[in-house]
Amino acid sequence: MKKLRIFALISIVFLFLPMAAAARDVAPLVTTDWLQQNLTNPRLVVLDVRKVEEYKAGHIPGAVNMFYGSWAVKRGDLLNELPANDDLFDTIGSAGIDGNSIVVIVGKNDSIGDRFDMTRVAWTLKYAGIDNVAILDGGQNKWVKDGKAVATEAVRVKAKAYRGKINRGLFVTKDYVTSRLGKAVLLDVRAPAYFAGKEKLPFVPKTGRIKGAVNLPVGQLYTPEGLYKDKAALAALATAAVGADKTKEIIAYCDTGKTCTSWAFVLADLLGYQDVKVYDGSTMEWFKDPNAPSEP
């Protein structure tokens, strides 16, 4: 019986251990120059997650379009939830992606909110078993600003039958977060006024933060030009907020589970934190429960 319990415990640990340390064949953030030089790589899939209308108006040559709403869905009254696994696999396959692909995600960068589409899709692809996922720093806007070629003809891809290994630990539930209070680092990536309980979005039931959370606002990720800050600057910000221990469990959250993927992706894929998770329900779900531990 004792052996069985130990086995079950080990299984649970492995089940929820994210695949942060998986080998990469591409840097997590790529530049427009890098992408231009690698467009002919047969393993490369440039995944444009903008709206169909925007994609058709002009996109990176060879880019396939699978807009953001294909990757995150509304479930009940919760926004930005994972699609069912079979739907997700179909989406991946119909974009021409398989386990051998190097995927570079391209979104728009008109506002700070646009940037999180890219990281949420990146995190979702990692969840679905795609290891080589990168983000084009600055997105489509930077590509156009740099004067690089743009195509308007929609790319037709040959669909692939994709069935990957789900990394369940990358997204966690309210029950799991509750079980880890006081043990894991709860990382609130919202603006300081939201963290302090002074403001909230209309669809979030009440102000405040999850009890014991630390704050690392998403606004700190970017330069004034809308690009990611350099690695050293991001590492300093991360260390100040969550500490330097790369093995510590970190659970990132925001209001809907989308914005927090930005820091989650940077922490796990750029800075090497090994155990980063995203609380998908975030405050939208947490504060529906009047008994959920919160502060102030």
Partner: protein
């Protein structure tokens, strides 16, 4: 400087329309020395007079002048069954010609300048370029209240799988349907060129046995939308009564009022009893037709709760319209659309 009002000079010479000169369509005086003189007799929306486009595009313009986009007869057709003969005359005079007809799309509304809705528009689609299509700046405005936002998922539900695969309006709704086929139809349901799922998706060739059997067993009994609508779509709650109209998400399965036998997705289009009170029309035949109508919900998904499990309909009856859900003070015909799912013989 707001560039939307200016013609991109690089376009002149590349586009035959612009090469003909502004006055060719907009009239006015193009050799006048002052702004006032130049603008005398100016026509702001030249294609409101369809004969202007007919000078070169005679066949299309002739067909288009009879199309539902131009005649807006569909709006009249939806209401007229509720009206007595005298009421219909009054409706045509006081409502249809003065209000509904103002919504007609001219050639320019789709090919030059995005149609304003509620007085708000984005102006020229592409610097006065005559474009073939740009659904996001044309269709999206007039059909943005329900269909377009459903289709793209911006309404809050899941986007239509066809949008996910990069298909836009014109990919299903052909040029022939948009321009009309020369017949003066009264309703979109009569249009022969309107799309149908089966034009592309033939049944009987499905790779999965469960899909093949499901399609065979429900053929003629349930519409494609009945199973493949992804979830809630937009339902109107009132009809511009007093200050504004309101829409809410909803999903309802019931009998198609047009044939009285097929289970399909129904959309609430209330036509509240007092909609035309201000013009003295009480709708004496209000109860002749229901307030719920079969709708081609534009949120199609391959997998839905109903395709995943027979129990969703046959045991749980999820999404089926019930008497309790019917709108208050609605048409007496609404009751006839309610259907109970049949239990399965297992």
């Amino acid at each position: 400087m707001y560039l939307g009002y200016l013609i991109d000079k690089r376009l002149i010479g590349k586009d035959i329309h612009l090469a003909m000169g502004c006055a060719s369509c907009h009239k006015g005086n193009d050799v006048a020395a002052t702004r006032e003189e130049a603008h005398k007799g100016l026509v702001k929306r030249p294609s409101d007079n369809i004969a202007l486009c007919a000078r070169c595009h005679g066949k299309i313009a002739d067909k288009y002048s009879k199309s539902l986009h131009y005649t807006t007869y569909g709006q009249r057709h939806g209401i007229m069954k509720r009206l007595g003969a005298e009421e219909l005359k009054r409706f045509d005079d006081k409502v249809f010609e003065q209000s509904c007809r103002s919504c007609h799309a001219s050639c320019g509304s789709c090919h030059v300048k995005a149609p304003p809705v509620g007085g708000i528009g984005i102006g020229l689609i592409k610097g006065h370029k005559f474009i073939r299509k740009d659904e996001g700046k044309t269709c999206a405005f007039c059909h943005g209240g329900r269909v377009y936002t459903e289709y793209t998922g911006e309404y809050g539900g899941r986007a239509d799988v066809h949008y996910q695969k990069g298909k836009m309006c014109i990919d299903c709704h052909s040029k022939e349907e948009m321009h009309g086929d020369g017949t003066r139809y009264l309703s979109k349901n009569d249009v022969k060129t309107r799309p149908a799922c089966k034009n592309c998706h033939k049944t009987g060739r499905e790779t999965k046995l469960t899909a093949r059997l499901s399609h065979r067993n429900h053929e003629g009994k349930v519409s494609c939308y009945g199973c493949h609508s992804g979830g809630e779509y937009r339902n109107c709650r009132d009809c511009h009564v007093e200050s504004h109209s309101q829409a809410q998400p909803g999903f309802a399965l019931g009998l198609n009022p047009r044939d009285g036998k097929t289970l399909t997705t129904l959309r609430l289009i209330p036509t509240a009893r007092d909609t035309f009170k201000a013009v003295g029309i009480k709708m004496e035949r209000y109860d002749a037709v229901p307030n719920y109508w079969d709708t081609p919900a534009h949120n199609i998904r391959k997998r839905t709760p109903r395709t995943r499990s027979c129990d969703a309909c046959h045991v749980e009856g999820k999404g089926f319209l019930t008497k309790e859900q019917l709108i208050k003070n609605g048409s007496k015909m609404n009751d006839k659309l309610i259907v109970k799912p049949k239990p399965l013989n297992r």
